[in-house]
Structure formats: structure tokens, C-alpha cells
């Protein structure tokens, strides 16, 4: 058992797990009702699951999906893409503009999604080329689309914030008739399975980490760091397009100014909480996704405590400072030292007892 505990303590998952556990305990003490899941009948007559847990899982989907791409970029490029939310706005705008110029049917939705994926991948590749080929620091390189992205989105739909409505879209953003689980959660699960398959059947994970840890070694072992970085940006582009489309479907309109506003910071935070060093190297996809749920759980908890929405961010900041501090190497080291000290003392006190 001791070994198992040690393994968990050493693993990168420890921080998000602890954070999630603390949130759960806090809510248990505060109000057990927080965890209740009920079956409701929604406006369309479907019986669906509802409750705080469902809204946490549902609400975090977009951030969780984008955190997958961000994790790969962070690991290989030793930096973050701060333009993901702006790119999601572009992707969403393309999605809506295709939908509005056609009758909304399943093939059209698929076409619109493919098209907006291509656009998002192209924009993401623009970032990728700046980072991988021109060796510009990721934050500076992506600052360009961070500032320009929403203007481009504005231009795609001629400055309007058009709505799209169709039962098909509602079933993507909400519930598919007959299935009580919100569709974004299902999409998230499919995404996780897909990326796990990619990691299982390719060397993406190994190569990405090698490039992130030691580019010189990567080069001398026949890995092309430029390609690995570009692949990270391509995958991130697909993640961004998916997140953008889910959000558009959920709210039924595209507002280039507010769609996933400030989400890039949540995404980066999710990666950090997940135990991937923002300085690159070893990564942990499951941790990042978990990190996204931690953030959403925190938000939902705060709302459940009737914290005014304008104040939520500052409360969030306090908790995040705590999480980041706990995961800092300084605190971790001293925690290990403290643990050893306590452990040693126990041993020392044990021996004389036995001797006597």
C-alpha cells in the first residue's frame, strides 16, 4: 500500500486530484444537496439529467477539449498559445456563416464543422510556423492572433452577431433526444478516446516530450522538432474548432466579442493544474482535462454559494493562487522534507520502545 501511495504522490496527477478532493469535501460540508442529480424534463420534452455535477462536466467541455491541444503545445514548444479563444471565435464564425447560407441538415453541419476545422488548423499552423520555424517565443507569436483573432471573426459575419437555430444544433449543444447526458460531455469523451488512441498507436507522446525536454537530443536521434511542434498546433486547431462549435451550438448564436472570452487563461491554467510544467517537457493529458474540471467545479461551487458573478473571478483567483503555490517545487520540496522529518522521528522513537 505504501508503494501505491508513493506512486500517486510522485505522479503528476496528484495536484488536480487533491484540488478536486478538497472541492468535494468542502461542498459536502457546506451542502450535501450540491451533489444531487435529478431527472428533469426539458423544454423539448426529453427527460434529462440535471444537477451541479452535470453542469460541471458539461460546462467544462470546451475548456477541457482545448486543454488537450494546449498540453501538446506546452510540452513541445515550452510555451503557451494565448490565441486559442480568439481562434475559437473565428472557427465559430465560420461555422455559423456556413450554416446560415444553407438549410441546416446533418451533412451541412458536418461540412460546416470540417470547414471551420480547416480554417482553425490553418490559423493555428500560422502560430505554429512562427513558433517552430521562426523560433519566436510562443506567447509573442500567438499574441498576434490573440489581438487580431476577434477582429477577423467580426469580419467573417460582416460585424453581425447572427443566431442559428435548429433542433439539430440544440442536440449538439444540449441533449440528443432520448439520451439523458449532455452531448458536449459525450463529445468530450469521444475526444479523449480519440487522443488516447493517437497516443497509443503513434509515437506522438514520446516525440513531443523528447522535443520539449531536449531538442538537441531529438535532432540527433532523427526526430524533426519542427514537425512535432507543427503537429501539436494542428491538433490544437482541431480541438479549438470543436470547442468553438460546441459553444455556438449551446448558445445558438455567434458573438465574436464574447464567445469563450478569456477562455485561453482557463485552458492554460487547466494545463498547469494538471501537472504539466509550463516550461515544457513531460506532459499529462488526463491531468489537463482534470484541471479543466477543477476550474469549472470551482466556478459552479462559487455560483452555488450565491457569490455575485462579478466577484467570482476574484474568488477564483484566490483558490488558484493556493493551487499553484501547493504545486510549486519549493512547497513540494519542503513538504517532502517535513514528511521525512516526521517519518524519521517516528522511527527514532520506535526503536527505544522496542529496546526497553
Amino acid at each position: 500500500m505504501g508503494n501505491g501511495l508513493k506512486k500517486i504522490a510522485r505522479s503528476q496527477l496528484i495536484i488536480p486530484l487533491i484540488a478536486l478532493l478538497l472541492l468535494v469535501v468542502f461542498n459536502l460540508i457546506r451542502d450535501v444537496e450540491f451533489f444531487s442529480i435529478t431527472i428533469k424534463t426539458d423544454n423539448f420534452g426529453n427527460s434529462v439529467l440535471s444537477g451541479n455535477l452535470i453542469s460541471i462536466l458539461n460546462g467544462a467541455s470546451a475548456v477541457a477539449i482545448m486543454s488537450i491541444g494546449m498540453t501538446l503545445i506546452t510540452s513541445s514548444c515550452k510555451g503557451q498559445d494565448i490565441s486559442v479563444a480568439a481562434l475559437a471565435a473565428i472557427a465559430g464564425s465560420v461555422f455559423v456563416s456556413v450554416l446560415r447560407s444553407n438549410e441546416i441538415t446533418v451533412p451541412v453541419i458536418i461540412l460546416a464543422f470540417l470547414l471551420c476545422s480547416v480554417v482553425a488548423v490553418l490559423f493555428s499552423l500560422f502560430n505554429g510556423v512562427l513558433v517552430a520555424v521562426f523560433k519566436i517565443q510562443p506567447m509573442i507569436a500567438t499574441l498576434i492572433l490573440f489581438s487580431a483573432g476577434r477582429s477577423i471573426a467580426y469580419w467573417i459575419n460582416g460585424g453581425a452577431t447572427p443566431t442559428v437555430s435548429s433542433p439539430l444544433l440544440t442536440s449538439i449543444g444540449g441533449f440528443i433526444p432520448g439520451i439523458p447526458i449532455p452531448t458536449p460531455i459525450i463529445i468530450m469523451v469521444i475526444f479523449l478516446i480519440l487522443i488516447s488512441l493517437v497516443l497509443r498507436f503513434t509515437n506522438l507522446g514520446l516525440y513531443t516530450q523528447v522535443v520539449g525536454i531536449n531538442e538537441g537530443t531529438a535532432h540527433l536521434n532523427g526526430i524533426n522538432p519542427v514537425w512535432i511542434k507543427l503537429i501539436a498546433f494542428i491538433i490544437s486547431g482541431i480541438c479549438i474548432a470543436t470547442a468553438g462549435c460546441i459553444t455556438v451550438c449551446r448558445i445558438g448564436l455567434i458573438n465574436h466579442e464574447t464567445l469563450l472570452l478569456d477562455a485561453e487563461m482557463d485552458v492554460i491554467l487547466a494545463v498547469a493544474i494538471g501537472g504539466t510544467s509550463l516550461g515544457g517537457g513531460k506532459f499529462n493529458l488526463a491531468g489537463s482535462v482534470l484541471g479543466a474540471y477543477v476550474i469549472q467545479a470551482l466556478t459552479v461551487t462559487l455560483y452555488a454559494m450565491k457569490v455575485p458573478s462579478a466577484a467570482v473571478k476574484s474568488y477564483k483567483a484566490v483558490v488558484i493562487i493556493l493551487i499553484v503555490l501547493i504545486s510549486s517545487p519549493v512547497v513540494r520540496d519542503s513538504a517532502v522534507k517535513l514528511y521525512k522529518k516526521l517519518f524519521k522521528k517516528q522511527k527514532e522513537t520506535e526503536i527505544p520502545v522496542k529496546a526497553s
Binding site: R200, F201, T202, N203, L204, L206, Y207, Q209, V210, I213, N214, G216, T217, A218, H219, L220, N221, G222, I223, N224, G281, K282
Partner: protein, 525 residues
């Protein structure tokens, strides 16, 4: 008792001072000791610098040159020993605590990488970080700078941005800055390694000018020609110990090299019991290059190696031996050359090409180019073979564990488990992991650049034995080592390099310490 010991110390102290300041010395370091964890970096080293001389500090890698300089400039504290200066007629002992201290005392260093700010102007660079100017009079500073630049004949303008000057001029500005701070001792740490010949000449005339003004210069370089062109005296260090202090005219090149390498010319007793591997010059070479050149190795060279042959590239540090083998592996951008593997013309433009043709390369700098520090021993071992197998064909966990297990046992790698991150292994075991990585690819030609550097003696011998065993099994090996006897023991042919050019090739009986040194020095064998 105490007072007696005190007196003795006092007396020997005075005696030391006397000795220290003979011969017009401005600086004298006495019995400097410094140990870093596990190694004695400096052992009782003395160093004397006279007024107005250019003094070369020579030694191979790990000889202790930079440690000595860092103690002098206060970067490292010394364990024991004394440093005396005599800049104004009085001898005093100094205790340098920081580079800032050293600068105030009149000891300045100009490093290979210029530590000035390229985006500030020359004048700004000359005066930043000096004293507490509350109000800066830029006009005065500009004028002062122009004066100094003119005085020292430095081709730069005071208002020019430093980054727009050539590296040589930047270095001169750094020197001028030191001179203007009234430095008595100027330390130049490999200033010429990135300069072309004309720039070197400019730098030298500046150095001669400073010398005539009474500045003493400590000059660190690995270019022998430069030492003989500009220096007055030489101090040689080896393995942290002082070999000696010599007038330049008393120390011909061959002797200097032998002092640096630690071998006497007539020391034939240590000659090898190396197995002579017959060179099958009639068969097709495993690898053959004609006129190969790369960005880092601009002088095109020819090279061939036969099946089961062990050859070596030798030469002093900076002679271009590593750059040459890097070119063979296409580690740097290839700029020309024809390559044949087993007689067939092939294209090797990037490391992966070389790997696919059965070439393996263990890099010189294990930390920077070899290990992937945060990944496990297992992942580090399978890396190269995995890349060769392809992106879409990862090894299963079981396969990877089998490979790792096999090579951990075969090479006797000491690790807690195969999942341990490689960074927590000792240097020797890390090196074995990298070796395992290449052995796993089953190469026909293996390049080992300094595989024995910085590892314990036992592992060194294991690695040499391994090289010979590989050769017996038909693998061709290029073996590079700073330790000549290692190469004599393992290689059947030595390619000798100097100043980035191949200057000779020794085989069989010709391969002796003295011949190698003579060839490096440029004398006929």
C-alpha cells in the same frame, strides 16, 4: 603554543610574500586548492603574472583553467591558498568575494561570449554599471568614449549600437571598458574562437598596445599558433595540477603539447597492447566520404572506414575532431560531399538518414545532446530504434521493457529500475544508457565522441573493452577521446587534426605519443 604556531605562520607568510613578489610580479596566486563534489578541481596551483606581459594559460579540458580564473575573479570561493597583488609597489593579500570586487581591485575579464548589451550604444556599454551616477551627462560620456576608442584605435563610434559592430569590435569595446576602469590585470577567455584572421590580427595589435601600457594579460586559448605569436610566458595546467611555468622561447610546440597531454616524448613504455586489426584496404569501405563539409566543419575532408576497423580523430580541443564526426552523422547542416555506404552512393542529409544507413552517433556533450533527462531509462534506451521504426509503429510496453532489460543487464547499468528518470543516474551509467540506445539499433558503423569523458575509471575501461568487442563482431567504430592512451589502446588508425584541418594520418607502428604530438605541432614525423 598558539603564539608559536602563529609566528610560524607569520614567518612563512612573509616568506611567501617575498617569493610571491619576485620578478616584478603584479599578481601571484599561491597553493590554490579547490574541490568540487567528488573531484579535486585544483591542487596546490601556483600562478604568477608579471607586469606588462601576455601570459598564456594552457591545458586540456578539465585541466582547471577556468576554475583558476573563476577563483581569481571571485566567481568561486577558494578552499585554501592565497592571492597577492602588487599594483602600486606594496604587496597585499586580497580576498576576492565577487566579480564586482575583482573589477574594483583592477582585475577584469572579457569572456568568449560578450557580456555587454548589444542593443545599447557603445558609449552606454562603456559606462553602465560603473559607480552610482545619479545624473548622467551623456555629452561627457560620449566624449570620453570617443577618446578611449581613438586612443586604442578601435573602429567604432560612441553612438553606434553595439550589436551592429562585428564580434571582434564588440570584444574590443569590452576590453576598452576594462581598460578605462583602470584594470591592471586583463583576462581574455578564448576571445578569438569566433573571429576570422583579420579580426584576430586587430585584437592582437590592441593587446600589444595594452601590454606596452603596462597592462598584464592572462590569455586563454586553444589555438597554438596564437600562443606563439603573441604570448611571453606560458603556465600549463593538467588535471587540476600545475605542470609548470615557462618562457615561451624555452618551450617548443611539441613540448607544450606533451606537457598538456601529460606524456613525455620518450615515454614509450606505456605503448599499447592493442590488437592490430588488419586493415582490409582492398575491400569496399563500410563508409566513404569525399569532400564532406558542413556548416560547422567548412574544410572539406575525405574519410573512409572498413568493416571491423576502429579509428580515431585526434587533436587538441577545438581542432575540429567533433565537428568532423558530426558532419559524418549529418548532425550539422551538410554543405557538400559525396557519400558511399558499402560502396553504394547514398544521400545523408539529416541524422535520420545516417541512422537508416546503420550509423550511430554518441555525442560529445551527453547533457546537451544525449540524454532526455526527465524520461525514463527505458524510453532513453529505445529512442533511436523507435525513431528508425517509425512514427506510426510504437513498440509495445512489453517489447520496450524487454529491450531495456536486456541492455541494462548486458552493460551492467546501475539503475533503481528501468522506469527511473535518467537524470538520477550517475554520469557513467547515463553514458551506458546512450551506448545501449545505439547498440540496440544494431549499427554497422558507430561513432563515439568522448564516450569516456567525466566518468569513473572502471566504466572507462568497460567502454574501451566494449569498443574492441564490437570491432571483433564486425562493427566499424570511430573513437574519439581526449586521453591519448585510450585511443592508442583501441584504434588501429588515427586521423590527426589541427585548426579544423586534417594534418596527418597515423597507422600501426607510426602510432606513438610522440608522433601524434609532432603531427599536431606540424613537424614532419
Amino acid at each position: 603554543m598558539i603564539s608559536v604556531t602563529g609566528d610560524v605562520v607569520q614567518e612563512s607568510d612573509n616568506a611567501l610574500r617575498m617569493v610571491a613578489m619576485q620578478n616584478d610580479n603584479v599578481l601571484s596566486m599561491r597553493s590554490i586548492n579547490k574541490s568540487s563534489p567528488g573531484v579535486q578541481a585544483l591542487k596546490d596551483v601556483d600562478f604568477n603574472l608579471r607586469k606588462g606581459e601576455i601570459h598564456a594559460l594552457m591545458g586540456e579540458n578539465g585541466a582547471g583553467k577556468s576554475t583558476l580564473i573563476k577563483i581569481l575573479t571571485g566567481v568561486y570561493p577558494k578552499d585554501s591558498g592565497q592571492i597577492f597583488i602588487n599594483f602600486d609597489g606594496t604587496v597585499r593579500e586580497i580576498n576576492v568575494k565577487s566579480p564586482y570586487d575583482a573589477q574594483n581591485l583592477g582585475i577584469s575579464t572579457v569572456y568568449q561570449e560578450i557580456s555587454l548589451c548589444p542593443n545599447l550604444t557603445v558609449a552606454e556599454n562603456m559606462f553602465i554599471g560603473r559607480g552610482n551616477y545619479r545624473l548622467v551627462n551623456w555629452r561627457t560620456i560620449k566624449k570620453k568614449t570617443t577618446d578611449i576608442l581613438n586612443k586604442l584605435n578601435i573602429p567604432a563610434r560612441a553612438t553606434q549600437q553595439l550589436g551592429t559592430c562585428s564580434i571582434a569590435v564588440q570584444q574590443m569595446v569590452a576590453i576598452a571598458r576594462s581598460v578605462d576602469m583602470d584594470c591592471k590585470v586583463l583576462i581574455l577567455d578564448e576571445p578569438t574562437s569566433s573571429l576570422d584572421e583579420q579580426e584576430v590580427e586587430k585584437l592582437f595589435s590592441l593587446m600589444r598596445d595594452l601590454k606596452s601600457r603596462g597592462v598584464s594579460i592572462i590569455y586563454i586559448t586553444h589555438f597554438l599558433d596564437e600562443v606563439y605569436e603573441i604570448c611571453d610566458r606560458i603556465t600549463v595546467l593538467r588535471n587540476g595540477e600545475l605542470v609548470g611555468e615557462y618562457e615561451i622561447k624555452d618551450l617548443p610546440r611539441v613540448q607544450l603539447i606533451s606537457k598538456m597531454m601529460g606524456k613525455d616524448l620518450d615515454d614509450i613504455s606505456s605503448l599499447q597492447n592493442r590488437k592490430s586489426i588488419d586493415e582490409q584496404s582492398d575491400t569496399t569501405p563500410v563508409y566513404e566520404a569525399d569532400g564532406l563539409s558542413s556548416l560547422e566543419c567548412p574544410n572539406a575532408f575525405d574519410f573512409r572506414i572498413h568493416k571491423g576497423e576502429v579509428n580515431g580523430f585526434t587533436g587538441l580541443l577545438g581542432s575540429g575532431r567533433s565537428e568532423s564526426v558530426r558532419a559524418i552523422f549529418a548532425a550539422d547542416k551538410i554543405t557538400g560531399g559525396k557519400i558511399k555506404v558499402n560502396g553504394k552512393t547514398v544521400k545523408i542529409k539529416k541524422p535520420r538518414d545516417a541512422m537508416m544507413h546503420g550509423i550511430g552517433y554518441l555525442p560529445e556533450d551527453r547533457k546537451r545532446d544525449g540524454i532526455v533527462e526527465d524520461l525514463s531509462v527505458r524510453e532513453n534506451i529505445i529512442l533511436a530504434l523507435q525513431v528508425m521504426k517509425g512514427f506510426f509503429k510504437p513498440f509495445s510496453r512489453a517489447e520496450a521493457e524487454e529491450f531495456a532489460d536486456k541492455y541494462i543487464k548486458l552493460l551492467g547499468i546501475k539503475t533503481a529500475s528501468m522506469d527511473t528518470p535518467i537524470k538520477s543516474l550517475s554520469g557513467g551509467n547515463q553514458q551506458k544508457v546512450i551506448l545501449a540506445r545505439w547498440l540496440l539499433t544494431n549499427p554497422q558503423y558507430l561513432i563515439l565522441d568522448e564516450p569516456t569523458r567525466g566518468i569513473d575509471v572502471g566504466t572507462k575501461i568497460e567502454i574501451q573493452k566494449l569498443v574492441l568487442k564490437l570491432a571483433e563482431e564486425g562493427v566499424s567504430v570511430t573513437f574519439i577521446s581526449s586521453e591519448i592512451e585510450e585511443m592508442l589502446r583501441t584504434c588501429s588508425r588515427l586521423i590527426v587534426m589541427r585548426d579544423r584541418k586534417i594534418v596527418g594520418e597515423l597507422r600501426g607502428e607510426e602510432m606513438t605519443q610522440s608522433n601524434i604530438m609532432r603531427t599536431i605541432a606540424g613537424e614532419a614525423v
